[in-house]
Subunit: 582 residues, 2 copies
Amino acid sequence: MCANALARAGASVRIVDKRAEHVLAGQADGIQPRTIEVFQSYGLAERLLKEGNQMHMAAFYNPSPDGGIERTGRTADAPAPTARYPYKVTLHQGAIEQIFLDSMAKEGLRVDRQTVPTSIKLSTDEAELKDPQAYAVTVVLQHLDGEPGQDTEIVRAKYVLGSDGAHSWVRKTFGITMVGEQTNFVWGVVDIIPDTDFPDIRNRCAIHSHNGSCMVVPREGNKVRLYVQLTGETSAVDRETGRVDRSRIGPQELMQVAKKTFYPYRIDADRFDWWTIYIIGQRVASKFSAQERVFIAGDACHTHSPKAGQGMNASMNDTHNLAWKLAYVLRGWADLSLLKTYELERRKYAQELIDFDKKFSALFSGKPRTKDNQHGVSHEQFLEAFNAYGGFSSGTNVHYPPSAIVNDAHQQLASNLVIGERMLPHAFICAADARPFDVQDFLPADARFKILVFLGDISNSQQTARVQKLAEDFASPKSFYRKFGGEDPSRVFDIVSIGSGSKDQVNYTDVPLGLRTHWSKILLDDTDMFARNGGGGYDKYGIDSLSGVIVVVRPDGYVGMVAPFEGLTTIEAYFAGFIKAQ
Amino acid sequence: MCANALARAGASVRIVDKRAEHVLAGQADGIQPRTIEVFQSYGLAERLLKEGNQMHMAAFYNPSPDGGIERTGRTADAPAPTARYPYKVTLHQGAIEQIFLDSMAKEGLRVDRQTVPTSIKLSTDEAELKDPQAYAVTVVLQHLDGEPGQDTEIVRAKYVLGSDGAHSWVRKTFGITMVGEQTNFVWGVVDIIPDTDFPDIRNRCAIHSHNGSCMVVPREGNKVRLYVQLTGETSAVDRETGRVDRSRIGPQELMQVAKKTFYPYRIDADRFDWWTIYIIGQRVASKFSAQERVFIAGDACHTHSPKAGQGMNASMNDTHNLAWKLAYVLRGWADLSLLKTYELERRKYAQELIDFDKKFSALFSGKPRTKDNQHGVSHEQFLEAFNAYGGFSSGTNVHYPPSAIVNDAHQQLASNLVIGERMLPHAFICAADARPFDVQDFLPADARFKILVFLGDISNSQQTARVQKLAEDFASPKSFYRKFGGEDPSRVFDIVSIGSGSKDQVNYTDVPLGLRTHWSKILLDDTDMFARNGGGGYDKYGIDSLSGVIVVVRPDGYVGMVAPFEGLTTIEAYFAGFIKAQ
């Protein structure tokens, strides 16, 4: 994610991996709704959706009076009604990696494999550390496939990211600690093509049985992943090191546990694609960087249960957050301080993730409520938690706190467009040709700030005058647009104007040129010709349909600030907080 | 279209073209809604939609009192509410050809270029002509790039298709005449990137001005095609031969005519991508084949005005209709008589197309109604015709008459699913995982008949018994399914079962195995988890939601027949009319 984003932004990137090949099976596989939106912003969602399985529905099974299980309900698997893609995608990690590898390759970037860092050091020169353009980090790389004596290489880098997993060498090297605890929950995972009469095998299922718990995750093709909770078998796992004694347990044993959980339904498999066993740890790194020169992301920063399918999503969104900031610093547009917002935003999120995971996985791993166990977890409790956390686990409610890049002073002007959250998807039509688009189609991850000018009603003459004035203000050399955009503001900003009028009446040519860079960049809050998409966007966002508002969306798709037409100085102050005047 | 479809069906195909390269600019460019559906059935719509422009809106301009033009209205450009894609796509012919060339290449088929036929002969042996597997046609090919003396080749073919345009050599060789007339309407076409203040430049526009008529067709990127009606300039065109004297007229002159039509709006262009001039002919070939061994398609069969953007669509749909029939005959599954339905269905359509075109282009080319010309065409007349013909021009109402492959005896059992028309698109959800699909996603152009079993309400025990009985009937060796499907009916048939129940209750496992070939092939008439798609399909189709019905969809996506559960003998009789028992 990070290498691809930086390569797309034109940065010089080197990416190394110890592995000789990319992941081929198993590992992470769940993509949450917000992450699909992020993929879309990089132009990668189409392939993801084509190759992956979609999980729309979740089913819940609980102990039945006759000793088996029975379905207690079905519900939306991604209870996130604001999601553009209101479902999850499952696809094995190797296929997801390949999507990124192919995208990077288009930028000329490939992974240097069988390569490990053996030493990483920050410059001891304070001035160098504070110079965003200095090569302040020295890394020694060892090429595992190199000739002895010619297998080491010294790289001087401006910035380094360690995406090196739960046992992160980068994290340990900089003495960053993990805060939190190991749990007692031991789980096994196995990927199969099932032969079964279980009616919800293509839905995500939470099964709480008399004989333990199991989670069903349907996968691409006919594959299914089963997560089973282990009890007696846990002696095969060393609780100190987390290592599994593979002579004492294997996929056959995991299937035996699953079979008991599924009873009275039958489930069989004649081969295993992949399997593993682990103990859940719930920990967050104390810091996410060493002096804003070396960063860590993903499992290196946070470990938690896989129950809610968060891991890969949390990790990819870490560097989606970091990449544009690095790009701005590397271009000389922003100071090092911008990079502090990475830890601010993503560590807050990671803490919330662990809190969520503690509650959610305790519910999941807890004993179900039965006649004999009135203190167990009831279906209602589970469902309530499942739905209450839907927005968080789907990623659509992730909220970044106020900072240099999140200014919520004018929140009331777009009351339902939460500043610090991702721009709410909604369908609008193109004023020039009535073609429907989602507003997110205008928010590609191209490292530009999107200036969404909600024009209001330009059939009203007073509003037309305000819009005209706004266009003149944008054109002024003193405006934020020119001050931070320089000679060619389109490098930094992209203006999209959105009117509240009707497609029968509005002409895209009515929008003054200063707020209209291309015919395709004027939208209308109206339905398409057959009322299948669009309409009601101003209301949904809580924006006044007469007087409009300006919404600043960050390069990562999060709402950075909102301002009235007469508040361009507020916008200037916002950008002055982290961007240098050109 | 034909070569690609046949290659996909596993036929041995040779395709030759006189041209050294595929078309690079201009030519046909409009894809109608039904044709997009057909592209989708070949897996080609995604690329078409990505590369093409979408025309959603049409605008109408008429003479204004001050001597210029004024907008009299906007409406849907494709007035076809049943369309899955309710808009047109414009993309230059070269890009469309490339989509097919790439698809064919996947099947190992490439165009032999710089190759022309010099002779084509049918066998004089009656027995050979009647043997579907005989190589009854002899074609002599000349390779324009071959060495003299080694540049001819004799090809013996089972069947030959001439897609060789309005001046078809194949048609002339077999003495097939064109019935109809040349008109007096002379039009010029020019492709430009406009510099304009015209507010509807990205909509399809019909402009009727004091100074002539013009049609605006926005294209991919920023391109626009202008069709202008020529009056004084027509002496540059020889009415006998249709040839244009390019020394007397060119794109600059066409732009001068356009500029007058657009007044008071300004339109300029500094270069011309492509241009042409033509006289409209409205003719249909007297026959579409010579003894069902040599066929003609496209402009070889029908010529008409380009005003309604029909040409490429009519042509591609000709061979979409023919290809599966040829495949069945080539496989030995059907007799030559099946091929007669090509002319039956497509010549009827071509006649309707010419009738439509006469009315439509007369309206378009006629003088507008003004104060001084009360007999001219009023905006209301034009709009009425535009909307009335929407279904026909969009291709969604194209209707094939009763024949061996269209049996409308049980029309009342699916009253809104017109037998002989394409299967109506509608969203259903997959019963196993609640994922929404359009029913057309289950109708790929894979040369199979789709057996859509509308199961009715399987929560009703009587209906469950009927469904169970139906599954047993399908499994019987005497059933149409086994009789015409043989050992592996999936070569000929694909069963999709569609229940009327609710996603909360129905289990895909409730459908008996005889009507369930895979978990993904059970659909439900219900909304998805967020009610964004689906629901109401039984009602829309006019099918009883308790008792269901069987709908047979032809390989080209047209409804062939409908039968009640107890009417399997009717289905058997239908297939016996053109398929041989296996």
